[in-house]
Symmetry: C2
Subunit: 329 residues, 2 copies
């Protein structure tokens, strides 16, 4: 490994959890270089932009970036960064962990969120003081690319099929095209997906999350439904994510800057450390990724806990405990 | 009372739960006339349209309509019917009931869903085999009308404030205008709303639904988040709704046609009977509305239960028990 990992702590607890994840990666001794860049509210104040050109350029040049969180400027930071890695899918595993209080302890899902289109295409207009429009964009190409990824992903997680979530009964053309393209690819690949309307999914996942496994969805649906799943597993402090492109990846916790606890050194680093595990997997360090995940799980079950999980440990305590429990095969 | 209530059972269990609710209304002996009309999949098959002109005309002429559910044709039935009553708000109470198994037994929320715009404006285009667009529409007028209703509604439920849910960080112009208009009206009326992003709301309502009370949201957000709340209270079988216009109302359970149990006489009629209670309130029969609600609650707590709630009672058993427990002041 002579990779350079770009790290962007961002705002709030990003400044605490990203260094924690870097500690974990360094402890693996894989020879990574870390190059730190700035983004977020604090940069916007100083420099008039939340995403300086050199930060974007660094992400465009690196194979892997670890991002923390941004505050008010989040959309202006994370959306351009996702496109800087040409990310077409946001992979969001949502699982409950033994020992962590969860509304639905049997939750174990992965959302594959389309990462470029829908309302995120950014085509919004204020036509007058009275009227605004926003255009959702759906292309067959983006839908197919996501579906191809989903079909390949099934093998990794040893699953036969996935569930397509959409609202094609109301958005007949956009979600209709999405649905059609996903089914076309699946059929070619010999996969038979289920489908559930977005609203029905929200009810059903609360009633019984074991009905679902891999969930393929448009951009906004993925945003909202993965956050719903975070609620079912006990909070955003546990959800990692990977924004994957054909050559580069951007890894980030699903949570935000948590301004209420920022600066106190008690943020839960688990989501960011699990994001670092996804980064390791992306770079081909599968055994190390498993070791990190195993250590996080072990600490969640029986190790020190940060206050969000009812404990009184610090970020450093948890990170230290995770490093101690590595068990690389 | 010499009102004519239009009833549209529709498809599937609509054919069972609407008659059950009519039985309840008849038992109150208020002198209502009931005029039954057809809509849904079975009509589409016979007549080529799921919503015959006479059904729409009847809804346009009546002060109150009770609707059941429609199957595949749901969007082509319910969206035109909502506009037939010029409904600008869909009121969706979501509460857990003592005695009913719920993921979050402390849930007690009301969604006030914008009922005309957003992606429901229907402005979708398939530009080519490869590309589709859908236009979300937001007007200040519709947003203000909803906000005015919300401010007045607070007094009814003895609450000081409401929560505005939106995704203005991504949909800056459309949800931005919605947010702005709602805050402007609230400020004029001396109300100080909270605001939460749509994704964060999904997490937070699972973790602690008591944080929220009255929730004001755009159309699709209201659709998905109220279904999420249905999941938290133990299923769609319990959620009523009222589509309110300036002069007319359309009342319907939030659930669908439940094809798996349709025709067996075991559908849970509670959501539709609670919708009939909202209809009574709309027509000014407040004491009767309270009596119906009280009877439904009492039966949910200690009466016969349909299979969805773990019992083996029929729709008729439950309806009969509700009628027996009326206690009109
Ligand atoms: C900050 C925001 C633009 C972002 C999104 O909506 O994608 C966030 O909610 C997320 O899910 O990563
Ligand atoms: C059937 C569908 C068009 C409808 C909606 O999306 O509004 C339904 O889901 C509802 O919530 O009443």
């Amino acid at each position: 490994g002579d990779e350079t990992i770009v790290v962007i702590p961002g705002d709030g607890i990003g400044q605490e959890v990203v260094p924690a994840a870097v500690d974990v990666l360094e402890a693996l001794d894989l020879g990574f270089e870390f190059a730190s860049y700035e983004a977020g509210d604090h940069v916007a104040e100083e420099r008039g932009t939340p995403l300086p050109a050199e930060t974007r350029a660094a992400v465009e040049a690196a194979e892997a970036t670890l991002f923390g969180a941004a505050g008010e400027t989040a959309a202006d930071v994370i959306l351009p960064l996702r496109s800087a890695v040409d990310s077409f899918v946001n992979v969001r595993p949502a699982r409950a962990y033994p020992g962590v209080d969860a509304v639905r302890p049997e939750t174990d899902l992965v959302f594959l969120r389309e990462n470029t289109e829908g309302v995120y295409a950014g085509l919004e207009h204020r036509l007058s003081d009275q009227v605004a429009t926003g255009t959702r964009l759906t292309t067959r190409a983006a839908s197919e690319r996501l579906a191809e990824f989903a079909c390949s992903y099934l093998a990794d997680v040893e699953t036969d099929s996935f569930t397509v979530v959409h609202k094609a009964n109301v958005m007949g053309e956009t979600d209709g095209l999405f649905r059609e393209a996903v089914f076309d690819v699946a059929t070619d690949r010999g996969v038979e997906p289920d489908e559930v309307l977005m609203d029905a999914f929200a009810t059903r996942v609360c009633l019984d999350p074991t009905q679902f496994d891999v969930v393929v969805c448009p951009n906004l649906a993925g945003d909202v439904l993965s956050d719903l799943a975070a609620g079912l597993v006990g909070g955003l402090g546990l959800l990692p994510s990977a924004n994957l492109g054909p050559e580069r990846g951007l890894f980030e916790p699903v949570h935000g800057t948590a301004p209420d606890i920022a600066g106190e050194g008690v943020a839960n680093p688990s989501a960011t450390i699990l994001s670092a595990a996804m980064l390791l997997e992306f770079l081909g360090y599968d055994a190390e990724a498993r070791a990190v995940r195993g250590a996080v799980e072990s600490v969640l079950e029986s190790g020190p806990r940060t206050p969000d999980l009812g404990g009184d440990a610090t970020t450093d305590d948890v990170t230290g405990a995770i490093v101690e429990r590595f068990d690389v095969e």
